[in-house]
Structures are given as C-alpha cells and as structure tokens.
C-alpha cells in the first residue's frame, strides 16, 4: 500500500469518526467557561487571603520556624564548595547558582543557561536551540556540581553534555519526560534518576530503580528529597538515604485540573513548595503553595503571585518576580536582587526558570 492509500484510509476514518461523534458533542457553552474562570479566580483569591492573614499574624514565627539564621545575603565564601562549578565566559566572579530558562511558547525559544555570581553579574553559559538537540520542553537541568547538563530528546533518548554543550553523548534510551517526569540529578551529580531507573552518568549503567512516577525534588544541599505520592494526595519527605522523614496529607487548592507536584524542598526537609503539574514535559517550577510538613499546614508565600523559585541555602528563598531574581526571607524581605537578563524579561510567557544551587552540596 502506498502513502497515498494510507492517507485516504486515515482521512476516511477521521471523517467517519467525526460523523459518529458529532451528535454526541454538547458544548457546555461560554457561560460554563466563565464559571470555571470565576472559580479559579475565587480559589486564588481565597488562598491569597488566607496567606495574607498568616503573613500578618505570624511572619516572625514563620521565619523563625524555617530554622535558619539569616545573616545577610549568601556569598560563595560562606558555602562549602568542594565541588566543581562552571566557568563563566567573561566574569571572574564565582557563580552562586545557575538558571536554566526555557520558554514554552511556540516561538522555538532556546534554552539558556546562565550563571549568577555573588556580585550580581550574570553570564550566559549556553544557549541551546530546540532544533539542535530536539529536547523535550523543560527537561534540561544542570547537575548540582555544575559539571553537566542533562535533557531528554523528543525521541526519548537521554543526553548529557558539558555546560557549554560540548561532549554531548547519549546516555540512555526510552526515558520518559512526560508531565513532570523529567530525570533529576542525584545529590552527588553522579547519577540521573529517571521514571523507571537510576543511571550512572560515568558509565551509563543502570544502578537502581527509578522514581516510579514520584517526581522527586532534592533539597539544595542534597540532604532530603520530596515527592507527591500516587493515589490520595500525600507529600512525602525522605532523607538522601531513602529513609522516611514524614508524610503529610495534602490537597492542592491551586491545582484543579492537573494535580500537584513538588517544586522544591527546604534544606532542613521541613518545607515543601508545591505547584501544578507542568502540562509540557519536564518538571514543575511555579510555586503555588508552601507546605510545612511538620504541622501539615500551609505557610504564607513570600510573594502574592505564582513564580519560578527555589529554596536558597541559609534558609532563604530565591524567586523570580518583577523581572528579577530576588533572594528573600520567608516573609518576603528581600536580601539580594539579581536582575534577569533583558532577553528573559521580554519574552512571551508562560516560561520557566529552573534554579540550580551550585557548590552547596
């Protein structure tokens, strides 16, 4: 059979499908759409109101509960840095963290990897076009030791490369990146945990089970990881060795359709940031709710909008807001500001910033 014959057969099948299905379609109407939109808005306002009340009632207690001493903005000298960090292309400043930016617009925006120095300077390390690597949206991630990039190509091959894109090599095949199942780096940057296996970066050998749909996120210091459990929503926090710290019932009020995913876990394993499933492949990035797993209660968000962010070290939070990356206390007090490069503030949203802390593990 020729392609033309196949074309005719398939076109005919779709026409038959449409004829059979059309009578069953009963669009709910624009009024229902408005109701859904209004419900979203009400839920958001209710959550923000509750959080605002908490902010007024207990900002100091919340900050103290984070269990860290905030002695000022983080500096590279204040963090253990036995691991390698990427070499910026022009600035001598030692980078504190890396940011992978990826657009989910239709414009074919490249993924850009930046290093942010303690002096506030920003260096573009790599810009990778989707055509070049055929990556699945939002799967590119920086190893916590700053040595490698990993991503899943659209044919489900897992690749790694140096931060500048050199020495690209295929590490594995048939790796899922759907939803928020993008592979995550282990705390020591030596392996990648995919949905169905753990792969040694050096050899490509399978060294253990995968995340099995649990969508892990490591704390910046690599001491804890957290995930949302399957079935009835629970947030589970474990130590790096896999031992259970605690599990907490949780219903995401901001994740009506897609369901929740862990975005980050604090260095002490107590606080977990949650957001909705990403609908593109990759992982969740936007903070919607902040859960205190010791009390099982939500904590005030540091800013009243959804943003990409991470728990910084030293009990601080870094979050993208107003075209800047702001390092702040849990009550929103800004400790340090890193301007985002202009090319990131002018692009179409939705887009994501994935922050990787460097040299803190």
């Amino acid at each position: 059979m020729s392609d033309f014959d196949d074309d005719q057969l398939i076109s005919g099948a779709f026409q038959q499908f449409n004829r059979a299905a059309d009578p069953a379609l009963r669009p709910a109407g624009p009024a229902v759409v408005r109701n859904i939109a209004a419900r979203h808005r009400r839920n958001r306002l209710a959550t923000l109101s509750a959080l605002a009340a908490l902010v007024i009632a207990a900002p100091v207690a919340t900050y103290a509960a984070l269990g860290q001493d905030n002695q000022g903005p983080p500096t590279p000298g204040g963090t253990p840095s036995a691991t390698a960090v990427p070499t910026p292309t022009s600035s001598p400043a030692q980078p504190v963290f890396a940011v992978a930016y990826f657009a989910t617009s239709r414009t074919g925006e490249p993924v850009r990897i930046y290093a942010f120095g303690a002096d506030g300077k920003t260096n573009l390390l790599t810009s990778i076009s989707p055509d070049e690597y055929e990556f699945v949206f939002a799967t590119i991630s920086v190893a916590p030791d700053g040595s490698k990039l990993a991503w899943v190509a659209s044919n489900n091959d897992l690749y790694i490369a140096n931060l500048d894109g050199s020495e690209k090599r295929k590490l594995a095949s048939n790796v899922s990146a759907a939803g928020h199942s993008a592979p995550v780096w282990s705390a020591d940057s030596k392996s990648l945990i995919t949905s169905d296996r753990t792969i040694q970066v050096a050899t490509g050998a399978v060294s253990g089970p995968g995340a099995v749909g649990l969508y892990l996120r490591w704390s910046a210091n690599g001491s804890f990881y957290a995930h949302v459990a399957a079935g009835p929503s629970r947030v589970i926090v474990k130590r790096a060795d896999g031992s259970l710290v605690r599990q907490v019932s949780y219903t995401c009020t901001e994740c009506e359709v897609a369901g929740p995913s862990v975005v980050d876990v604090s260095e002490d394993g107590r606080y977990v940031a949650l957001g909705p499933f990403p609908t593109d492949g990759g992982r969740a990035h936007s903070w919607r709710e902040l859960l205190d797993t010791q009390t099982g209660k939500l904590r005030p968000m540091p800013v009243n909008e959804t943003n990409s962010g991470r728990f910084f070290h030293d009990g601080l939070i870094i979050i993208a807001v107003d075209g800047q990356l702001k390092v702040m206390d849990s009550d929103g007090t800004v400790r340090q500001t890193y301007p985002l490069p202009a090319e990131l503030t002018s692009v179409f949203t939705p887009s994501y910033l994935d922050v990787t802390m460097l040299g803190v593990r």
Binding site: F17, R106, T279
Partner: protein, 172 residues
C-alpha cells in the same frame, strides 16, 4: 465629560470583549473537542480539558483577542492539559478497559475503530496524526506546537500513518 465617557466606555468595552469571546468559543469549541476526543478516546475528558483551556483563555482574553490566531493558544493549552502525565497515567488502564467494553457494546463502530487504532500508537505519533488529520495542521505548525523540529514531526507522522493504516486494515 471625559470621566463620564470613560465610565460608560468601560462596560461597553467589556460587553464587546465578552461577545467576541462567545463568538470565538462557538466557532472553535467543536473542532477542538473532536481533536481531543480522538486523542484521548474519552469525550468527557476531552470536554473537560477543552473547557479548562477556554477558561484560561477567558481570563486573559483582553490580551489573546489581539492574537492573529487565538485558537492556536487555546489548542496548545488544551493539548498540554491532555498530554500531562497524570492524565495519561489515569487514562491508560481506563482507556483500554473502555475500548474493550465499547467493542462489545458497539454503539458507534466507526468511532471506536479509530480510537482503538489510535490507542496502539505511541503518544507522540498519535498527537502528530490527530493534529495533522483532524486539526488539519501543517508539519510546521505541529512542530511549533510540540516544540520539536519539523524533521521530528515528519518522522512521527510517517511512522504514525503507517502504523495507524495497518491497524485500521486489521480492524476492517
């Protein structure tokens, strides 16, 4: 006078935006629902994701209405919702069970034959085939929506077309 004109003008503008949205909804809802129905194999799921996508569009309609093709934005959101991992996981077992059940009951053999055949394709091949044959998108448009190279879409389409045709012939 200016103040009065502005006060009157705002509700009128809102009413016009609302009417525009209603017209946009009416013109595009059936096509989008059929696309997602073919992809998901479940009408209620398809209607859910399509209406969620329209709700998100409504929330930013003032902005979207200036687009050349606002339906492309809604389509992308709806497909993103449909392809998220949670929905796929949830659908996997239900989908196969439903197809078996419908095969026995056989209320709409034409519809069931296509959805059952589509269910045998890998998800990315299935998306490419539905977007091409049902949504009538070009390779370039599918590549843009999926965020992949055109060559990748051509590969998906080629493999998906061959596998789907073979499956449909077996069904017949």
């Amino acid at each position: 006078m200016i103040s009065v004109a502005l006060t009157v003008g705002v509700p009128q503008a809102r009413a016009r935006e609302s009417a525009d949205f209603d017209e946009f909804y009416s013109a595009s809802v059936r096509g989008l629902t059929l696309q997602l129905y073919a992809y998901l194999g479940d009408l209620s799921e398809a209607q859910d994701v399509v209406h969620e996508a329209f709700a998100r569009a409504f929330a930013r309609w003032k902005h979207l209405s200036g687009y050349d093709e606002p339906v492309a934005w809604v389509r992308r959101v709806a497909w993103n919702l449909a392809t998220n991992h949670f929905r796929k996981q949830r659908n996997a077992s239900v989908f196969l069970r439903r197809q078996r059940t419908e095969h026995i009951e056989g209320p709409d053999p034409d519809r069931v034959a296509l959805t059952r055949a589509l269910a045998t394709l890998p998800a990315n091949h299935r998306r490419a085939v539905v977007l091409h044959y049902q949504a009538q998108l070009s390779v370039a448009e599918i590549a843009a929506q999926e965020g992949v190279a055109e060559g990748t879409v051509k590969s998906w389409l080629s493999r998906g077309r061959a596998a789907l045709a073979a499956q449909l012939r077996r069904e017949n």
